[in-house]
Point group: C2
Chain length 241, copies 2
């Protein structure tokens, strides 16, 4: 399969037998959520990367919503990272990635509230001309409540002794939070080792997880992606260069 | 239990043995979603109505988010209508309200896209001084895609031969759509019998469903609620007057 993002004028790669087709963009955190679940489940899948700035005609024709992440399952296009995560957990039960039904809904409420971190991060990085101190401070405050949640759970991972769905659903933003330092040329860095010690330890454990490690992108590459995207330059294929 | 909405200065009613405590507001469509699932499952529950314009101190103390719908389960406050619907379906499996895992995710994607109808309806009713023709027409267009979905499914209910989760999750807005006619004193009415015939039939079938019927509010009462709320008048307890 091509690891290049396909644009207008491309042709869809032929189907792969006994494999789920996964439509992706290499730097999308929502795509990463689903990829981590596919990895953790060991689900055979083949990835087609979509150039979101110039979507292929064949993609929009087959799937007018044209979103990623998407899975083609039984001819149907399925979207929405959290729904896909649940779906994959239902059709591939091993290993189970949710705990009890009660813990599952508590985790989902937590994941939803974590959305604030994602919004504040993108506001910080992408929507202001320069990174602003007030926005940075607000992001750190929102991370403190995530730190408190982990401290209160008292476990190595949010999900217990091993990474579960709750860990995978929030991980993509932590990979990107480390990009703030190279992105701002050292001016800002999330104080993980000073104020967010449980999260610092959790991050180190997550990076050792096989599902996470095999899809990991360095802070420098994430920073390069954000810098290029903000400048309106091609930024999807930088891992292949 | 009091059917009045409790405000500041109230005391929480004592717990009821072997019963789920359900925090509600009688006219909230998201509350209604959860109520329909509780009804369909036959889950013993006791309802405490919360005055959202003047929330009781005891509620905010126990549950700082202070939202409805909420369930108190095992001492935890659980929120978000779709998450609660899933949770109830997991802990009370009978009767099952989702179909296959594939149909479940397709239904969830449909429910999410249905959110547009809800937004357009509230924009029409609540955010403009007068109901505007352009907003009304936009709402009818969005309903046509719901009509097409039901026609394409070719079943009596969205969920098949009986109401399932997908039907219950969208129903609250259909009850309210019929309020447009009394609310606008006959000036506007959704053309169910002319342009949305599958939906018209489905509505009639839904109103005969026991879970729906036992919580049904007439278009006139919904219209009265919207009129009072828009005027800033007390509007929560009008079913008790």
């Amino acid at each position: 399969m091509s690891s290049k993002h396909l644009a207008k004028g491309s042709v869809e790669p032929p189907a792969v037998p006994n494999s789920l087709r996964f439509y992706s963009m290499r730097f999308c955190p929502y795509v990463q959520r689903v990829k981590l679940v596919l990895n953790a489940k060991g689900t055979p899948h083949d990835t087609v990367f979509i150039d979101l700035s110039d979507k292929p005609e064949w993609y929009l024709e087959k799937y007018p919503a044209g979103k990623v992440p998407a899975l083609n399952y039984d001819g149907k296009f399925l979207s929405e990272s959290l729904l896909l995560a649940d779906f994959l957990d239902e059709i591939y039960p091993e290993p189970p990635l949710w705990n009890s039904p009660l813990q599952k809904i508590l985790d989902k409420i937590f994941i939803e509230s974590f959305g604030k971190v994602g919004s504040l991060f993108y506001k910080l990085i992408m929507t202001t001309t320069e990174v602003e101190k007030a926005n940075f401070d607000e992001l750190v405050v929102s991370l403190k409540s995530v730190e408190d949640e982990l401290a209160q759970r008292g476990t190595k991972f949010f999900g217990g002794t091993s990474p579960k769905m709750v860990d995978y659903m929030i991980w993509p933003w932590f990979e990107r939070l480390d990009a703030i330092e190279p992105y701002t040329k050292g001016k800002y860095a999330i104080p993980f080792n000073e104020q967010l010690k449980h999260l610092a330890k959790w991050k180190a454990s997550m990076i050792s997880d096989k599902a996470v490690a095999s899809y990991y992108v360095t802070p420098e590459k994430h920073a390069e992606h954000f810098t290029k995207r903000k400048a309106g330059l091609p930024a999807f294929d930088i891992l292949n260069e």
